[in-house]
Symmetry: C2
Subunit: 454 residues, 2 copies
């Protein structure tokens, strides 16, 4: 059967009220993984909706919020996965919202609500694409499989549990993850087939029992100095990470990983200006800069706090000092092993008293660059926009690709028609109706292209 | 005329209601140097009170709050100075006060109010001692001179201005400063004849324009790391201060400064336990510990703040990082010169981008150990308690001795019957009526002993 792009796009445009109403229903239900508020009700809405749209479901209880796999079989055995989550971030500060975060409100063609973009909008657009395809053609050209969890916004602590519980039910020829931005309509789509992992550590130094008068500083230990000196052994002024063995498990880059930098979406000059810096680290530019950005692990000091942090002066000897460190991991760095390396490194330098707590641990992931799924995404993007897409083998940020894909080496990707300026996690989260419809249309093309794979 | 200690002490006891009423009146008036609230009214109350008690006054306008010198001449030319201030600290958090901070309230023999101890109580006790002496004997054996400012709680920014404006009016044979504690009734009084100075610096590193996503950490500068690395050049893990020339102007200790350590009030074991530490820095004990405590300069990291400092995790590349550093100075370290040394030190190591801001600068001061005034204090303490007092030539903390005394090398001291647990600066500031009366009595002895000096 010939795929008539216009026919399916017209259907989507004609039924946009239905899809917006569905998104509105989902956004109307709180679903805060952080507190558990509304999670049960939201899960019921999700499963009811998928049932209404004719998908088969398999629910997986976890030690946390339940997950669900929703499947619609197609004409071929090829399976396109869509990863989504039904939990959302808290809405605070509420006073900064221009309309109720739990009521989808449209202003000037833009929908506003908590979760409208991240990720209820994505969930609905994937479902709407599947629905439109079915309505227009009666069948799907491939199997479409939704993999849905409810704890993404608290770091997906039970996604590994879900993955194990799934068994073969997880099998896909490729999984589209949430997110996927373009630099406005008319710009090329940006395809990511890998992500850095994230190890978030909290380092704490303890000195005297409670904050004391700073006149004691000459005779009693200072937790802030202790922490500063420990941190000083971890990274040098040139930005080199000095943790013993930190780079030992970093895989060498494949030639394709370097080649793909030619097709990167990164706008060097715009980013530099936006950040307000005269130059990037170590004066790097071009491919050398991109190589670091996509493929180098980081050890970022995300937060420091000790003693008096208010305005003006207070003469205090701090009892405690804390550093928050986020480490972006690349293959094949293991989060727990890396945390242990930090501990061992500190202990070997006499800083064994510094407590190192693992807050978050997510592995990195890189899809096989030769996987047909990458080509499915590229062909879909090209077909949808008429422009050659940008491609990255490793997004500098983190998504839970590895949790779902690592064991079975399932190719993963993120690509879509969103905008990085959607205020996800912040007040006035938004999703333009035009982008929403484009996302539905683009996903229908993805379904078609997956069906083309032999 | 023979000094009859019992007679004057009896007078003080008999008139305690009058003195408490006076303190109550002063505590009933807000006087916040930080906001200026009530400062004018408070100054009027102070000057009215001193006029009522028959002292001659000279008011000094400053760029900030006015100062006053109040004098009562005596039978000799010898002059005993009392330094006090009429401003107080803010009362927040108000909810933690058990009674209105602006109403002197007595519970179980203890007076509660903001300023009741720091320093309206001290001011009234010095005035009451002068009054009692006059009432019992008709004249004073020496001249008593009050030097009163209204900005101590904001770091006495105009005390130098006042000192210059005073000219010869400042001349004294010794000045008693505020404070002065004992370890409960029956303990020896603790005399301090010198203080460390205080240089408070704020060091700031700036990276990207505003906090950014930490995925950029590998290519964009991190202000927190920058600050940590700069701080790492300032102090080593053994606590050595590495700032170039930091110790250059430190005067060698006099034999008397070492000898006086034998008479120190510091309770090593109690302090160690209170701080909850296994040992003092570098395992020091005894005289070596006291030598550091009283005579070594410090470079204390009083605060650190950068990026995300809340609970849990946030992956942020911090735009700004700030360190609060308090440096306790010893003779002859100059605050401004020391600040410049920190700047030069950083610049010489490639950290010239770190902003170094001087927040507070107070010089250290040590009285001449052979000054007769020290003996006046020792004799008074011995006579009042019947026990040999403890003596320190350099208090590890800071009081503005130098501002008033440095130019004319006026001997200075702090000694009294207060308690370190008076909640000065905190909620429920207090002053036991017994301590208040003891302070008045002790000060009457000081007046007598100053009169004995030839």
């Amino acid at each position: 059967m010939q795929f008539d792009q216009k026919k399916i796009f017209d259907y989507i445009d004609a039924h946009k009220e239905e899809y917006i109403a569905l998104l509105s229903r989902m956004c109307g239900q709180k679903s805060l993984a952080m507190t558990g508020e509304g999670i049960g009700e939201m899960f019921r809405i999700v499963t009811e909706t998928f049932r209404e749209y004719g998908l088969e479901m398999q629910v997986f209880e976890t030690p946390g919020n339940p997950c669900v796999i929703a499947v619609k079989k197609g004409e071929t055995e090829k399976t396109l996965g869509f990863y989504h989550h039904y939990d959302v971030m808290p809405v605070e500060p509420l006073s900064e919202w221009q309309s109720d975060p739990w009521t989808l409100t449209v202003r000037d063609g833009v929908m506003y609500a908590r979760g409208v973009a991240d990720n209820k909008g994505g969930l609905v657009s994937s479902l709407a694409a599947t629905d439109a395809y079915l309505k227009v053609y009666g069948t799907l050209p491939c199997c479409v499989k939704f993999l849905i969890e409810g704890e993404e916004e608290i770091g997906s602590p039970n996604l590994g549990f879900f993955t194990k519980a799934c068994g073969d039910a997880l099998e896909c020829d490729g999984i589209i993850f949430e997110g996927g931005d373009r630099n406005g309509k008319g710009s090329p789509l940006e395809i990511t087939t890998g992500v850095k992992g994230l190890l978030y550590l909290e380092l704490t130094a303890q000195g005297v029992r409670t904050d004391a008068h700073s006149s004691l500083a000459v005779i009693a230990p200072n937790a802030a100095w202790r922490l500063v000196q420990a941190l000083g052994t971890i990274k040098d002024a040139e930005g080199n990470i000095l943790v013993d063995g930190f780079y030992d498990d970093v895989l060498p880059l494949r030639q394709k990983d370097l080649d793909v930098l030619e097709r990167d979406a990164f706008d060097e000059e715009a980013t530099r200006k936006h950040l307000g810096i005269p130059a990037f680290n170590n004066g790097k530019t071009g491919k050398e800069l991109l190589k670091d950005y996509h493929y180098a692990p980081t050890l970022n000091l995300a937060g420091l706090v000790s003693g008096y942090t208010g305005e003006g002066t207070k003469t205090v000897l701090p009892a405690k000092a804390t550093a928050k460190i986020d480490i972006r991991l690349v293959p094949d760095m293991d989060p727990e092993k890396t945390a242990q390396r930090v501990r061992d490194h500190l202990a070997a330098r006499g800083f064994g008293d510094i407590d190192v707590k693992v807050m978050t641990a997510t592995k990195s992931y890189r899809s096989d660059p030769d996987a047909p799924f990458t080509d499915v995404m590229i062909r879909s993007a090209r077909s949808f926009t008429g422009i050659e897409p940008k491609v990255s083998h490793s997004h500098p940020a983190t998504m839970p690709f590895a949790n779902l894909c690592a064991d079975r080496r399932i190719p993963a990707g993120a690509v879509g028609c969103g905008t990085p300026h959607n205020n996800a996690h912040g007040p006035n989260e938004k999703y333009a109706i035009e982008d929403f419809l484009d996302d539905i249309k683009f996903r229908s093309v993805l379904i078609r292209e997956m069906g083309e794979e032999k």
